[in-house]
Symmetry: C2
Subunit: 342 residues, 2 copies
Amino acid sequence: MKLSELGEFGLIARMAAMARAGEGVICGIGDDCAVIESGRPGHALLVTTDLLVEGIHFDRVTTSARLLGRKALAASLSDVAAMGGVARAFTVNLAAPRDLSVDWVDALYAGMAERAQWSGTSLVGGDTSSSPAAIFLSLTLLGACPVDEVVYRRGARPGDAIFLTGRPGESAAGLALLQAEKGGRALPGPRSDGEKAEREHLTGRHLDPEPRMTAGRRLAAAKRATAMIDVSDGVAADLGHILERSDVGARVDAPSIPVSDALRAAGSALGLDPLRLALAGGEDYELLFTADPGLHATDLSRAIDLPVSRIGTITAEPGLRILDHDGRPLDLLRSGFEHFRM
Amino acid sequence: MKLSELGEFGLIARMAAMARAGEGVICGIGDDCAVIESGRPGHALLVTTDLLVEGIHFDRVTTSARLLGRKALAASLSDVAAMGGVARAFTVNLAAPRDLSVDWVDALYAGMAERAQWSGTSLVGGDTSSSPAAIFLSLTLLGACPVDEVVYRRGARPGDAIFLTGRPGESAAGLALLQAEKGGRALPGPRSDGEKAEREHLTGRHLDPEPRMTAGRRLAAAKRATAMIDVSDGVAADLGHILERSDVGARVDAPSIPVSDALRAAGSALGLDPLRLALAGGEDYELLFTADPGLHATDLSRAIDLPVSRIGTITAEPGLRILDHDGRPLDLLRSGFEHFRM
């Protein structure tokens, strides 16, 4: 069997099966971060690692090296945020073609250094190699969190409300705009400066996402979230990860998904359904979490300084049902972004 | 400027310059591991990361996936050993072509799992992606060590003796044998079963090195080593790293370099100078350390259960001088193995 037949999640499942939950490992593979004992009683170490491959995760035509550096670290920071932790230190491995310019690499590291400073983390190590083709970037980020405050994917309970920060789908719309531009595809508009600013907002959301560090930490410290994940694969796919880990199902009310004006306008120009972008688009790096249904989105929003929407309810019945405004199930959305099946 | 003009060490130096020695970082880039505060008073966390690229660091013709998995983790374990630490947990990122077989990947993970069990470490996370060309493997390993027992590259003092475990050059000879075989080059011999076994020993030293975990830990716990490094780039190059970091020089007595019979025989068959292989060959994963000149190699050997040779002396005068049996300086050896200049 080839990797292309197994798919990315199949491969990760095989790797997880071989991983031994050894001494000092509180949670191994299967969440946004691994959680291991730090040696300090009551305090855990968080570990997350990400791989970015040119042509698959990024494109040198549509992103600059500096923004790529910022985003690479942001994606890992977002994993620490989704566990409720504080980021501490990271390592970077880079394989690059021999004819790549040193300026490009300097800009990449400068972008990472910006996000490192922003988040109070330090680059502590790295390895480099030439690459026969394409640029490969591998980051590993360490974080910390009190053991009893770590928020896992597995904690959702039937009856919990499902909350989401920010406006999902904007990153996917930004990517579609960039791809249209790169492909030389003429889009209608923008018809005004406002619409131009909206499109720049969307491409910015794709190229330079801001991980929700403070929000994740506050939710964990206040013990508000029963389960949490960051939206990297898309709202539907990432909610699916919570459901699978928590052994529950969910009902999502499509009309409660916050679709921004910018997303609606771009969807119209691109000929893409904004709701589909909001549910299936990836790389928003917002936080998706479950919590006591007595909590109000407005109170949560005030507590974490971000827009918060209540988008559905956890059910004992397995499966994810997405209902339209008449309560009818929406078509199944393509789920996830699997690299080997691209 | 292109990366190929800068070279690997130049690139790492640029990265190090951008790394901020932030809060909680005891030692950042520039040693075998980064050393950071673990949160537990008096105890440090060690972090090391390695990148392996097909066609540069390994060859699917001469190594099996299982041995590659064993060696990949062994190389990182060796970095923790060289700091005096105990290995704890690791993450693995893998980018692989879509048509790679699942069996190959399973064998890779199985090899890593073997070395993980051997060393008492746990695989706690990983990411996967397809690759447009070649296999990329990135490992990050965490270890632990009491802060006051960590052994750095920077601690060598003039007058210290230089010690080395094992028999260097055997891995390089093993690699040369494998390359000769792959290239269809006929070598003289082996003329006996003994010589055949010797060659298998050498290729085994290259394909399946054993990191010196217990020895490194014992040397650190006994506070015997003033500086330490593992031999990955070669004895001369790695001693050079100690000298640079410690701001000292060294005199190495070439006749004291332990050249094994197996290495001598293979050198003769390959037409390569065994002493040159012993000084410049890489990937032996032995430990090179400096210590009080009053210590005897035989006592150290008994303490750490490995052959130990005393190969020279640290000098206040900078530079590395390698002297032959008449006390004449040997030609400068090619130093290091820089990936962008290959």
